[in-house]
Amino acid sequence: MITEISPIKLLLKLSLLEFRKNFLTLRMGVLLPILILFILGSSWGFSDENANLPAEVNANNPFEVLFLTSLFILFSSTLGIVLVGFDGISKKRISGLLAIEFCQPISKRILGLSQLFGLWLTVTIPTIILSLFAVVLIFKQMNMWPSLAELILFIFATSMLLFWYSSIQLLVSCLARDMGSAVTLGVGTWLLFTMIWLLVTALLATVFGVDVTNTSNEKFISFSSKVDLFSPNGLYQLLLESQLENLSRKLPAWMLVLATISWSLIPSTFFVWIFTKLRA
């Protein structure tokens, strides 16, 4: 006798299965040392009072160290999402496995969401665990803990960042028709937000008549912070900056909340919609 399973329970089971499958791959074998080096190394280094940091970088308390560590998370963990997820859908589609899954008596929406949560958990779990270890390292160096609110904000923002990246990666993976385009689209979107965003900001500033020759002027800073709302990396930084004092890049809280909700809903909803329309 088969009893009906609730969609939430089914989603959870499939997400965990996907997470386990992703986690036990060679890609994670490559990624884990990078995460360990970047997250633990940066938190250890930035919290060392003898470390020589550039003049404008201050790390006087644990949260400021975590903020600086977030720059390394932006580079390594988001790259991890790309590494694991760039072919998350396209590989199944090309190999024909998607056809087998689509034949099964399950809603495509649940199947798509399980892919998304599976990918998200694969990189988020080690990132968060390493971040907690980083907090311990910071305590060893500075003899100070971040406040609970700061820690929760850091974990929340980091988890959200990786969720946004997971949605984007799977979305572009749905659009990819072969392995080549999957790599190009996956790495391309990562490059756009991680490397090229400053150029995009400068271009937009020029278009809107904002002086880009002096990036420390107030008008440019205000403009760039608004443009950053349209980038997951930018929004992540803005969320963390909201806890930092003496920073000129302050945006109203409603803007941050709206951007966070939008980034959490729009790419993931769009991904699930595209996934349900996919032809296996």
Binding site: I2, L17, F102, C103
Partner: protein
């Protein structure tokens, strides 16, 4: 029409192919597909779906499995009308599909893949070994997909289709990559499944392969069903019968006289000289012939002091049936398919 598990009426589907234009880079044009397909599948039947490459077999299978949404027509499963846009889950439970050439690869194992399908279907994961044993993969359960041979991958695909004991099985080119021993075992599995009341649609472009297991066949060409029924009935309808081939070490003298003396029947024949042997092909009469009649011809040659060292009657192939049904020359059937593509290009 009662009792039918699956029924199609005038079902059509066309692929939308990217055809970028300067003014519209996302322009899609209508490509090939299937047209006006009407068929039914009754419980316990094994139906063969045959046709050349590009005939629409896989497309039809995908439409039946709910992977492709038909643009028109009616589909009924267990007598109930199905919404073409969204296949209900109860209907999906009744169908097991084995798609063509699934490329199982990666470090996952057959055990894990079966487990995932069982979880999706909300079934007990303790049955994994039983399912793998059904297809002879129990000793490969924990090996990586990368280490499986093509035949084993086919078995894994079949195992996935069998999960949940679906009433309708759709098997797309299931024999690809299977060795002769596995094929025999596979045929036996199919017969057992049909005996237990399941309906099986099995596609192939190898008619001889299907002949041993199917009850009837559906012949497809250029997206349409051009003939259906029992193989023997189709052969009789189009007067397609096996010829006789006799091989002799030396040339047969007065062959015409020998043939004209045979039971007052006028049989057409052909004599070909090869290096080291002579091949005499006796074309089948329109009404076909029995084994006894073939033996009589053999005896007739022996009585006339010509004993062949080889005697055979090659099986009818899909090409023979297609050329008979379409009226096209066997060598032009593939070309005709190409014309189909060109026609779409012109549109």
């Amino acid at each position: 029409m009662e009792g039918s598990l699956l029924e199609l009426k005038d079902v059509g589907f066309n692929y939308r192919l990217y055809s970028p234009k300067i003014i519209n880079p996302f322009f899609k044009k209508e490509g090939l597909g299937i047209e006006k397909i009407s068929m039914r599948m009754d419980p316990g039947n094994i139906i063969g779906l045959v046709g050349p490459n590009g005939a629409g077999k896989t497309t039809l299978m995908k439409v039946l499995a709910g992977l492709l949404v038909p643009k028109n027509g009616i589909i009924k499963i267990s007598g109930k009308l199905i919404d073409n846009n969204e296949r209900p889950l109860w209907a999906k439970k009744l169908i097991g599909m084995m798609p063509e050439n699934i490329n199982w690869y990666g470090t996952s194992t057959p055990y894990q893949e079966i487990k995932k399908i069982l979880i999706i279907r909300n079934m007990n994961t303790r049955n994994i070994n039983f399912i793998l044993k059904q297809v002879g993969l129990n000793n490969k359960a924990n090996e990586t997909l990368n280490s499986l041979s093509q035949g084993m991958k086919q078995r894994l695909s079949l195992a996935c289709a069998l999960i949940g004991n679906p009433k309708i099985l759709l098997l797309d080119e299931p024999m690809n990559g299977l060795d002769p021993v596995a094929r025999t075992a596979f045929n036996q599995i199919l017969k057992n499944l049909a005996e237990s009341g399941r309906t099986i649609l099995i596609s192939s472009h190898q008619l001889a392969e299907l002949e041993r297991v199917v009850d009837s066949i559906i012949v497809m060409h250029e997206g349409k069903i051009i003939e259906e029924g029992k193989i023997i009935d189709i052969k009789n309808k189009y007067k397609i019968h096996e010829d006789l081939i006799l091989k002799f070490k030396n040339k047969v003298g007065n062959l015409r006289t020998i043939m004209s003396n045979f039971k007052n029947e006028s049989l057409n024949f052909e004599e070909l000289d090869f290096d080291g042997f002579v091949q005499v092909t006796i074309f089948s009469p329109n009404k076909g012939w029995s084994i006894d009649q073939k033996m009589l011809i053999l005896e007739h040659f022996i009585d006339n002091c010509y004993t062949p060292y080889d005697f055979s009657s090659p099986k009818i192939t899909l090409t023979d049936i297609l050329s008979a049904v379409t009226g096209l020359d066997a060598t032009k059937i593939g070309m005709n398919l190409q014309r189909g593509y060109y026609r779409v290009e012109e549109e």
